[in-house]
Symmetry: C2
Amino acid sequence: MTTKRAATMKDVAREAGVALGTVSKVINGIPVSEPNRIKVEKAIEALHYEVNTYARGLKTQRSNLVALIIPNTHNPFFASFADHIGAALYKRGLKLLLCCADGIPEKEIDHLNMAMNNKVDGVIALTYSDIGKYITNNLPIVVFDRFFENQVIPRVASDNFAGGCLAIEKLLEFGCKHPVYIRFHSVFPGESDKRRDGYLHACAKYGLEPNYLDMVDCDEKIDHMKRFLDRHKNPDGTLRFDGVFAHTDYHGYLFMSLLQREGYRVPEDVQIIGFDGICKFGNIEEELFVSSICQPLEPLAEKCVEILLAQETQTVPSLTLLPVTYRYGGTTKES
Amino acid sequence: MTTKRAATMKDVAREAGVALGTVSKVINGIPVSEPNRIKVEKAIEALHYEVNTYARGLKTQRSNLVALIIPNTHNPFFASFADHIGAALYKRGLKLLLCCADGIPEKEIDHLNMAMNNKVDGVIALTYSDIGKYITNNLPIVVFDRFFENQVIPRVASDNFAGGCLAIEKLLEFGCKHPVYIRFHSVFPGESDKRRDGYLHACAKYGLEPNYLDMVDCDEKIDHMKRFLDRHKNPDGTLRFDGVFAHTDYHGYLFMSLLQREGYRVPEDVQIIGFDGICKFGNIEEELFVSSICQPLEPLAEKCVEILLAQETQTVPSLTLLPVTYRYGGTTKES
């Protein structure tokens, strides 16, 4: 069985006998010579080349620009999210205005106004401020992950509650008897707080005594982890827990390093499951830092864009949750 | 000694008795009520608040948009570079149009035309195609890292040649007698090829026999590394090299993992120095994957933007190289 390959811009250039750049210009509405324009249009027709259909449902006077407000792209989670958002926009003929605001409300608002000044068609935000009140003229907006007081603005997130449950279920499945939970959290409420709810739910469901380190994020994470570890040592040096659900892969990695420095083996003595699904070296290296509950970054980005462009906003739910999955990353005992 | 803190947008809002968003709007030229505009302007004057000075030297009809064309932001090196470019633009009142082209020439050209259609004021590109010929109307452009046939376009890169030398010098300083070089390279020529030249120069300078694995990048990197390793084993299992200069941190990490799987200790049996200076978890975690020759990402980004905005293009050198530095990352024996 053979499937006919869809024509590419290159095919159009070959068919029309013009340079690739000429085809791109015609498609993007940049003037070229009249004979070339005609050649390209004929080739597009002959090959049934599908030009990116420009997004509908936005303002009529469009810039085809969508602003993404995120803290930074140093963090690999945000960096991959930005990449997937860009790809989801690109295939709809839209461009990405990247606004890294370092989580500083002042900078977020400034970026937002700069973006509005450039007449962006919409905003996707992973933000720490209630930016809804700064947005005027019915600009479409979608918020990722963060909790937002303004319920009118649609939100997209992973199913963090189910992820918290799944982490504990996996640790039990791999033989843990006494899992603990470790998290350092933002002062801003967000969907990720539900990981804790999921953890507590799983404890109740499986008859486990909740046991956790739960603190506001700070620079002394290692010190707090060390004290938590010391509090759970038996006189013979063995530990009173055998599994860790870490709030993020980063927390899981820090705790793993601490355990190894203290002479404990991972996963033999303690199994660890993190959250996020961050890969070493980004997508180049498929290896996770720790076994993890993975957020579906590509579908999350696609969903944000889809909702942003939705024509019938009445049918958009205020909160859309996408399922998470467990993935092995070397810190669990697979059965 | 006390230094007077520079006034922030928040201070202006407090002084003017208006909301932060109002200040931002005035600064960004978005209409507000006349009394509010006057209040804000008075407060700006009273506090000597420094409004971002908008970049000069660009077209008079400005969009204040600069396009960055890079392969992706999954790769932490590109991701951090994009972040620093955004920061360098932001402080000049410019915005970042992020174009991830996956290194596909067709997509790069398409992004470029989309960007020109949005009347960007300039382009910074880490590209694999000779996009110079697609750029019309004297659009300012700066190229990072890649080699470019068109010498008119200014390029910015790290001093890769010096970095290659430095890696060998550091390995020798830490006691290596037989360093080898491992690289998998792109089919496209680029500044990073000079790491190899630097390695060969150091070999000549220090009387070392060049010994390397040098191949076009492929999916079978581990297999090739394994064969290279096997070729360098003595009958008793010891190795005929004791140091590795890896073309990138990623290559260094892969080789370290292979060595450890084969029962060799890093850095006791083999010391490794990579190139790039990529940190685990981006900037959250300051820990490197391997000891590394670090590229100065923030200065590189700053330099790209500075050259892009330079008014007197005659004085811009065709190639600007910034110095690299060695940093310990656990895979070398510090003396």
